[in-house]
Amino acid sequence: MDRNDTPHPALHINTERLKQLQKWAAIAPQSDEEDRYLIQELNNQLKDMVIKVLDPNLDAALEAIEPTNYGVDLTSRCAPMREDAVDSWPDPDALLDKAPRVKDGYFVVPVSKHESL
C-alpha cells in the first residue's frame, strides 16, 4: 500500500493484465481453468509477499544502502575476465545436432513478420 492507502497498481493482476503478460512471455492461455488458477495465485503472491517489499517502514533503510547484485562481494575475489575474443566450440555439429531443425549449418525458424523496417 502506498502512503494514501490506495492499492498500488503493481499489486493486482486482472484478466486483461494476465493476457498482456502472457503475450510478453510468449505463453498462450491454455484454458479458462488455468487462467483462473494463475490469476488467483499471482494475486495471492502480490498481496502476501510482494506487498512487503513496498513496506514504507523500510524506506529510510533502503535509501541508505546500495543494491547488490550478489550477496558476497566478488569484485576482489574473482579471476580477471578473459579477453573478449571469439572462442569457437570444438564441435559445432554436436551443438547443431541439438536443434529441432537445421539446414546447411544454420538453425531454421519460421519467417518473422515485419510490419515496418
Partner: protein, 509 residues
C-alpha cells in the same frame, strides 16, 4: 557383507576400496541391488501413479547409467591393482540432480520442454567428481526448473517419495537427490540451492546438505534458476562425506567468472578431534531471536518439536564449551518477499532461452511466424508452475514497476547481508532450525504457491547474504520425521561449519 555395502558412508567405502577390503565393483553392485529393491519406476512423462508406486521412492528421473557405472567400477579396481592413484572418491557411487548437464545424458530440468535434450558437455562439478573416481548412477528428480519445495512439480512421474515416510514429500527442489541418499540408492549426491533447495530436502529426509558460499563452487553446466542466488552443493550421509565432496568440487573454474580464487582448505583434514576441539575454544554461536520468536517466521505450537530439538543442540554445544549468544537479524521476515521479486525477474529472463530454436522441444503445430512458434513451443513445454513464475517475473520487471519492486528487492538483499555481517562481528556462526515444519504430506500444499514459497523462509536468508549454511539431522519429531539443524557461517568459513556440525553429529550419535 556385500549386500550391506549400500549402508556405508563414502568415507568408509573409500578406505575399504583403496585397502582392497572390498572392490569398487562389489560396492557398485550393492547400490544397484538396493536401487532395484526400493526405487520402483523411475520418472517418465505422462505416467499415472499406481498403488505399487506409493511404496517406492522414485528418486531417479531417467533410466540409470548402470552399465557405464559397472564399467567404471571395474576400471577403478584395475587402477588400484596397478597401484595407480584412482582419486579421492574412487569407486563411490553418486547421483546428480537433473539440473546438471552431463555429456551424452538426457538433462531435462524435470521439464517437458527439455524431455529429449542430450547435453553436449559436462558441468564442472560433475566432471570434478568423475575425475576423482566417482561412479555416476543417474540423474535425480526435482521440481520443474527447480521451482518448488516438494519435488511435486516435476513433469516426470511417479513423484519422488520421502524414504522415511513415503506418504510425505522429500522436500525440494533437490528432493530426488536427498531421497536417493536417504534410501541408500546413492552414497552421495549433488543438488542446487537457490532458496534452500539442498538444505530443506536434507532436513526432510534426514541427511546432511551444504549450501556453500556463493562463488565457492562453480555453476558452469548448471541450468540457471536465479543466477545471483544459485549455489551447488553436496547431500551426504554424514558430515565427513560432505567435507570430502566439498574438497573435490570447490575451487575456481575459468568457465564461471563468479567462482572465486580463494584457496580451498583441506576440509576432511580439519575434522580431526584435535582440530575440532581447538575450534570450540572460545567459540560463540549466535542464537537469532527472529528465527525463534518472530510470528511471521515460526509458530511455536506447530514447530514445538523442532524448537525443542534445536534447544537440545544448543545445550550440547554449551557442554562442548561453546557460548550461545543471542543475535538479531532484523530483516529476516523480508527475505522471502525480496527473494520472490529477485528470483522471478531472473528466472523470467533465464527461461526466454527455451524457444524451440537451438535445443529442446519445438511445437509440431502449423505456425505462421516466429512468434507463434515461440508461443506454441513454450505453452506446450512448460508446466503451470514455471508459467506462473515467468508471468510474475514479467509483471514485477515491467516498465513502471521495476524501479519500485526490483530495485527495492536488491536493496533488501543488501540489508539482509548487512544483518549477517553485523551478527558475525559478535559470533563465529549462527544456529537455527532448517525448516519450520518437518516433511509435509504429498499433496498437502502443492498448488498453493504462497505456502510452498514460505516453506523456505528459514533457509533463504543465507542465499541473499551469500553465506554458507549446512543442514544436519538433529532428531525426530513426535511422528518420527527427521528434524534439521541449520548452521550458518561467515563467507568462506565452510571449514568452521563442518567442524561444528561434525562435533554435533559425533556427540549425538
Amino acid at each position: 557383507m556385500s549386500d550391506a555395502l549400500w549402508q556405508y558412508s563414502a568415507t568408509d567405502l573409500r578406505e575399504m576400496i583403496q585397502s582392497r577390503q572390498v572392490s569398487a565393483v562389489e560396492v557398485c553392485e550393492a547400490l544397484i541391488n538396493r536401487i532395484e529393491s526400493v526405487e520402483g519406476r523411475s520418472g517418465g512423462l505422462v505416467q499415472q501413479e499406481d498403488e505399487i508406486d506409493t511404496r517406492h521412492i522414485h528418486a531417479f528421473i531417467h533410466p540409470l547409467s548402470l552399465e557405464s557405472a559397472r564399467k567404471k567400477a571395474g576400471s577403478i579396481d584395475e587402477m588400484i591393482s596397478r597401484g595407480d592413484d584412482p582419486g579421492i572418491l574412487a569407486g563411490i557411487p553418486f547421483a546428480v540432480k537433473d539440473i546438471f548437464c552431463v555429456k551424452d545424458t538426457r538433462t531435462t530440468a524435470a521439464s517437458s520442454i527439455l524431455k529429449n535434450y542430450v547435453s553436449p558437455y559436462t558441468s564442472t562439478v560433475v566432471e570434478r567428481i568423475l575425475a576423482a573416481g566417482g561412479i555416476l548412477l543417474g540423474k535425480t528428480n526435482l521440481d520443474e526448473f527447480v521451482y518448488g519445495s516438494s519435488t511435486e512439480s516435476s513433469a516426470f512421474k511417479p513423484v519422488t517419495r520421502n524414504p522415511v515416510d513415503p506418504s510425505r514429500v522429500p522436500g525440494g527442489s533437490s528432493g530426488g537427490s536427498a531421497a536417493a541418499v536417504a534410501a541408500g540408492e546413492a552414497v552421495l549426491s549433488l543438488g542446487s540451492d537457490t532458496a534452500g533447495s539442498i538444505r530443506q530436502p536434507a532436513a526432510f529426509c534426514g541427511v546432511v546438505g551444504l549450501k556453500p558460499t556463493y562463488g565457492r563452487v562453480s555453476r558452469w553446466g548448471l541450468i540457471a534458476m536465479a543466477a545471483s542466488l544459485d549455489c551447488v552443493g553436496p547431500l551426504t550421509r554424514n558430515v565427513k562425506d560432505c567435507a570430502l565432496v566439498l574438497q573435490v568440487i570447490a575451487g575456481q573454474d575459468s568457465k564461471d567468472w563468479t567462482s572465486v580464487t580463494e584457496p580451498v582448505p583441506s576440509y576432511p583434514d580439519l575434522l580431526s578431534d584435535a582440530a575440532v576441539h581447538h575450534t570450540f575454544k572460545g567459540l560463540k554461536i549466535g542464537w537469532p531471536t527472529e528465527y525463534f520468536e518472530d510470528p511471521e517466521l515460526i509458530n511455536p505450537d506447530e514447530s514445538a518439536d523442532i524448537l525443542r530439538a534445536i534447544e537440545r543442540a544448543a545445550d550440547l554445544y554449551k557442554s562442548l564449551g561453546a557460548e550461545i549468544v543471542p543475535v538479531s537479524l532484523p530483516h529476516t521476515s523480508y527475505a522471502i518477499p525480496a527473494y520472490f521479486v529477485i528470483s522471478r525477474v531472473e528466472l523470467a529472463s533465464d527461461l526466454h532461452r527455451f524457444d524451440g530454436v537451438k535445443y529442446g522441444h519445438r511445437t509440431n503445430q502449423p505456425v505462421d511466424d516466429l512468434y507463434e512458434m515461440y508461443e506454441a513451443t513454450r505453452t506446450e513445454g512448460f508446466g503451470v508452475q514455471p508459467k506462473q513464475r515467468v508471468l510474475m517475473g514479467m509483471h514485477v520487471s515491467s516498465a513502471g514497476y521495476a524501479d519500485q519492486l526490483y530495485d527495492r528487492a536488491l536493496r533488501l538483499r543488501a540489508l539482509i547481508r548487512q544483518d549477517f555481517h553485523r551478527a558475525f562481528e559478535k559470533v563465529d556462526l549462527i544456529m537455527a532450525a532448517t525448516t519450520p515444519t518437518t516433511a509435509f504430506p504429498l499433496g498437502g500444499i502443492f498448488g498453493d504457491t504462497v505456502q510452498m514459497q514460505n516453506a523456505d523462509r528459514l533457509t533463504v536468508p543465507a542465499n541473499h547474504a551469500g553465506v554458507p549454511a549446512i543442514s544436519l539431522p538433529c532428531g525426530l519429531d513426535s511422528s518420527g520425521l527427521p528434524i534439521g539443524l541449520q548452521l550458518i557461517g561467515p563467507d568462506f568459513r565452510e571449514d568452521r561449519l563442518l567442524q561444528v556440525a561434525y562435533a554435533f553429529e559425533k556427540e549425538n550419535n
